[in-house]
Structures are given as C-alpha cells and as structure tokens.
C-alpha cells in the first residue's frame, strides 16, 4: 500500500514565492524516505502540505488514502510530526508535556503515562521526566519532540531535521529508533535532513529537492546511477605484469604513481572482502605491489576481475569499490556538477 502520494503539487505563497513546484512522490508503507535539500528548497513546505497545515496551490496529495487539505485532523490522528517550530510547553515537565499531548490524541491518562515513560526511557530522558522543559537542553528538547510525535503510535512520521542539535551518540540512538519503527512496526518515515551521513544510515529511498523541484529520487544505487553509471574499483596487487594490466583494462592509480599505498579518494569505500595491512607503504615497497583501478558498471563484475588477476598469477592484497556516497550524490546534483567520474 502507498502511504504517501503526491501528484504534481505546487505551492505558491501569497507574494508569489514558489516554494514547491510540480512535486510528485510515492512512498510505500514502512519506507524511510530521506527528503534532502538545502535551506529554502521546499522541504518544510512539503511537510506542511502533507500534514494539512498548508493547501497546495496546484496538484493533490494523499497520506494513507486521506487528503490532508480536506481532512487534516484525520491525518494528524495517524501521523507524528517534528518540525523546527513545533515546540512544547516550558512550564510543564517532560512527562506532563507527553501526558498533555497524549490526552489530545485520545489516550487515557494511564495509557499515556506508560507510553510516555517508555518513550522517555528509549530516548534516554527518563531522569529528566519530572524536570521542567525550560531546563532541557536543545538535544533533550529534540528527543522529547520525537517522544511527543510517537506518543499515539503513528503510522506515518514526518521528521524535519530530527537529529539537529543532537550529539553523535544521541543521533545514532534516534536513528536506530526510527529504523526500528519502520522495520518492526511498518511506520512510514518522511525524513527531511541536512545530515546526509545519518540519512544514509537509515533511509531506504531518497528524494533530492532544490528550489522546490525534485532533482532525483530513488534508492542509493539508483541515485548513484543517476550521477554516474560507472564506478571505480581499486585493487592493490602484486606479481602484475604490464601486459596483464592492459589486457584486463586496468590502469595504475594516481596513488601508485606517487608511490603511496593510501587510497586518495575521499569517496565512500565499500570494502567487501578486502583487507588492509598496518603499513601499506612498506609492504608496497617490499612486495612490489601496485595500486590499480578500473571502472565497472556493477559490483557483479568485481569477482570476475579478481578471479582473472589471481588465475594469471597475480596476488590480491586489497579490493575496494569507490561508490559515491549520498553526500557526493547530493553535492553533485545540487551543484549541478557532472557526475563523479
């Protein structure tokens, strides 16, 4: 079942600012969709349209089969929302805030209390449960906002920068919680963030938006193919003849030319079955290994390549696929630059 569907939605604010332009999305249930883009790209406006806070100027959308602009309260009953401007009450304690929002979502006091305490425990806020919100740090407020958004067990979560202001450990915990919600409870997560590293940890699909328009959408692999259909494989090998290098379509990598065993590229390396020695440089000189690289279309080609090198007497010390990270893809698309290679 589709959880979220938007059909060419456009939002033009009074004054003529076109915040979202012809946006079409389709999210499956249990999906964690990373909606990425720079400030002012239209991410928050999209969340507000999907939650019924704003009406689209053109197009239409549905969340769990409900039109948000026609029945916003029905959307609110099944969704949890975190945005920068959705704050809670400073004069109430963390738990009191959760009880208040629980009662608004129709939970009885006992149910809200046990659910609230459970969420506070999960988000490491148990000790601060009876502390007024005015004494909470930014990170604690952010985690409490997540607890508030989850108090009624929503089917869809709209999270606008949920990990902003969080320390790395808390961010990881929050990410783990979000991923578990999607995997175990089938909650659909619409995640707007700048923190691409965290997004890459939990999102199953991505949409990249700039100036209100969707630049690209898909899984990480699909996005990689969008920016570049091929990727580089780096191999450190010994007993390699120049003849073998040309026959297998390999070339000496830049790092080898500089007599360095370090991988110069800062792209994400997915080291599948590879290993690294403690002192690559020494090993390189002693064993006469070379750094080689080639470009392939898919990871399926790597075993064949390795097999060929080994069968022709070469020794493999390291193999890594230099796949563009989400950050690379993001910058490549938003800056309008050419693909990675």
């Amino acid at each position: 079942m589709k959880s979220i569907v938007t059909n060419s939605i456009t939002k033009i604010y009074p004054g003529g600012n076109r915040a979202v332009s012809g946006l079409s999305l389709s999210l499956n249930q249990g999906e964690v969709y990373g909606f990425l883009g720079p400030n002012g790209a239209g991410k928050t406006t999209t969340v507000k349209i999907l939650t019924g806070m704003l009406s689209p100027s053109e197009g239409n959308c549905e969340v769990m089969g409900i039109d948000p602009s026609a029945e916003p309260e029905k959307i609110h009953a099944i969704s949890g929302v975190i945005t920068e401007h959705a704050q809670m009450y400073d004069n109430l304690t963390g738990l009191e805030n959760l009880l208040f929002y629980g009662s608004l979502f129709g939970l009885d006091r006992n149910c809200a209390q046990s659910r609230g305490l459970g969420l506070l425990r999960q988000l490491d806020l148990e000790e601060a449960a009876d502390r007024r919100l005015s004494a909470y740090s930014t990170g604690m407020r952010q985690r409490l906002s997540l607890a508030r958004a989850l108090i009624h067990r929503p089917k869809v979560l709209f999270l606008d920068e949920p990990t902003s202001g969080l320390d790395p450990e808390s961010a990881r915990n929050v990410n783990r919680l979000i991923r578990d919600l999607a995997l175990k409870e089938g909650v659909t997560v619409f995640l707007c963030t700048h923190q691409l590293r965290y997004a890459q940890e939990i999102c199953t699909r991505y949409g990249l938006i700039e100036k209100g328009s969707l630049l690209a959408s898909g899984t990480l692999d699909e996005l990689r193919r969008t920016v570049s259909p091929r990727f580089t494989v780096k191999i450190r090998a010994g007993h390699i003849s120049p003849d073998m290098i040309s026959r297998l379509g390999l070339r000496r990598s830049g790092s080898d030319a500089k007599d360095s065993a370090e991988i110069p590229d800062n792209r994400q390396e997915e080291n599948r079955g590879s290993y690294r020695e403690g002192s690559d440089k020494e090993t390189s000189k002693e064993t006469g290994t070379v750094w080689l690289e080639t470009e392939v279309e898919s990871e399926e080609e790597i075993p064949g390549l390795v097999h060929q090198i080994v069968s022709e007497g070469g020794k493999i010390f390291h193999v890594s696929a230099c796949l563009p990270s989400l950050e690379d893809i993001y910058f490549s698309l938003t800056a309008g630059k050419e693909g990675l290679k």
Binding site: E73, H85, A86, M88, D90, N91, L104, F105, G106
Partner: protein, 262 residues
C-alpha cells in the same frame, strides 16, 4: 474529543497561573478594584463632611425615597450598587484579555501553536477550548473578586457605620450577564487580532478600546449625567451579548492553519 478540550482548557489556565508576568496583573488589578477603591470610597463618605457638596450632582440623580436613610447611606448605596459595578467591569476585561493574549498569541510567540495544530482536533475545537479557558478564568476571577470585595466592604461598613448594606440586583446582572458578555468581546477582539499580532503586548492593545466606554460611564455618573441603573446594565448586557455573538461567529471563519502559522 471532550477530554482533549478539557486538557487544553486546563493547560491554558495553568500556563497563565504559572507565569508570574501574566498572573501578577490578573491578581493586582482586581486587588485595586475590590479592596483599595471601595475602601477609599467608604472612608471618603465617612470622613468627608456632607457640606463639601462634591457628590451633590450624583445624589441629585437618586429618587427622593433613596435619601430617606440619610445622605451617607444613600451614598454608600450608590457606591456599592452603581459606581463599583462599572469599575468592576475592568476585571473581566483585563483578565480575559491577558488570558486570551497568552492563550493565542503567546502560543504563537513560543512556537507551541504549531504543535497544537498537529493534534487531531478541528481548528474550531481548538479555538473553542482556548476561548473557554479565557472565559472561565475571567469568570472565576470576577466571581472571586466580587466575594472578596463584598467581604471587605461589609466589614469596613460595619466598623465605620455599624451597619451592613445589601448589594442590589445590579450585581446579579453585572456578574452573570454583562461581565460574561464583555469578557467574550475582549476575548474575541484578541482572537481576531491574533493572526496578525506577533507579541502578546501587541494583541492586548485592542482590549484597551473596551476600557474607553467604561471611562465614559464613570465620568457620566460622577458628573451627574446618568446613573448606571439595573435597566441600563441590562440593556448594556444584552447589547454586549449580541455584539459578542456576532464577533465570535465571524471569528472562526477568518482563520486557517496557514494564516495562523505565518
């Protein structure tokens, strides 16, 4: 849905009572109106010589029968039943406007309104709950103020004159008709301005407009132009009730989540 509405009402009332900056004027103004002002009037009547003639214009408005018990008693009656009710109206106006400003614009200012709008309650229900919170607070403060004022004034009258004075029907009209109607007008004015207002102070300015007619009534009485009788209070209550109803009807339609989140 009822429990959600009660939760908003409880939370709004608590938000104001736990905020010293908001709660202090709610306590202080009634204290002046119900303790200081009546005491000043009573002491003036007791110690200023009748010959001074300052209140002659006011006394001339009373029927001859009202002066049977003496000018002092007549003045006490006028103060309790005609003058103080007009001053008393400041209490519901002030309380309801402070409450409504905190409840509507205060939430906007503190970025808690958006969170409230993400709850599964229609916008109209949220408005209703917030209006009820301001209205109930205003009524509670008004009734409590009246009880305290009566206790103080009767004690002072007993000490100074050795007699008690019974409040007239004017107070019933005031407490249960005019005061609620004026509270609703004040709340509605604040609510109508809440979409545009960015601060609580800004939104409270409109309620000041309601104080101006009160000033006219007060000056009118002291200058002997009119006496705020039961009939006048009743007419005012009905007029204000009708105005409140019209203002509230148009109020909800002016708002959408979009206009509130600007």
């Amino acid at each position: 849905m009822k429990s959600a509405i009660y939760a908003i009402i409880r939370k709004d009332i608590r938000s104001v009572t736990s905020n010293r900056q908001l709660f202090l004027p709610i306590l202080l103004i009634p204290l002046i109106m119900i303790v200081v002002l009546p005491t000043m009037f009573v002491v003036t009547v007791r110690f200023v010589p009748e010959e001074a003639g300052d209140l002659d214009a006011l006394l001339s408005l009373l029927p001859v029968s009202a002066l049977d018990g003496g000018a002092e008693q007549a003045l006490i009656q006028i103060i309790l039943n005609n003058i103080l009710p007009v001053f008393f109206l400041i209490i519901p106006i002030m309380t309801s406007s402070v409450m409504a400003a905190g409840s509507f614009v205060g939430e906007k200012e503190k970025h808690t309104l958006e969170t409230l709008l993400y709850c599964p309650l229609p916008l109209g229900r949220i408005f209703y709950a917030k209006i009820m919170a301001s209205f109930l607070m205003s009524m509670m403060v008004s009734l409590l103020s009246f009880a305290v004022m009566l206790a103080f004034m009767e004690t002072e009258l007993f000490i100074l004159f050795g007699a008690l004075t019974v409040p007239s029907l004017n107070w019933l009209i005031m407490l249960f008709l005019l005061s609620p109607a004026v509270s609703l007008i004040a709340i509605t004015l604040i609510v109508r301005g809440s979409a545009k207002a960015q601060t609580m102070e800004e939104s409270q300015q409109k309620a000041v407009l309601l104080i101006l007619p009160l000033m006219l009534l007060i000056v009118g009485q002291f200058s002997g132009v009119l006496l705020v009788s039961g009939w006048l209070l009743l007419i005012l209550a009905l007029a204000c009730g009708a105005a409140a109803w019209f203002l509230m009807r148009g109020c909800r339609k002016r708002f959408t989540c979009e206009s509130l989140l600007k």
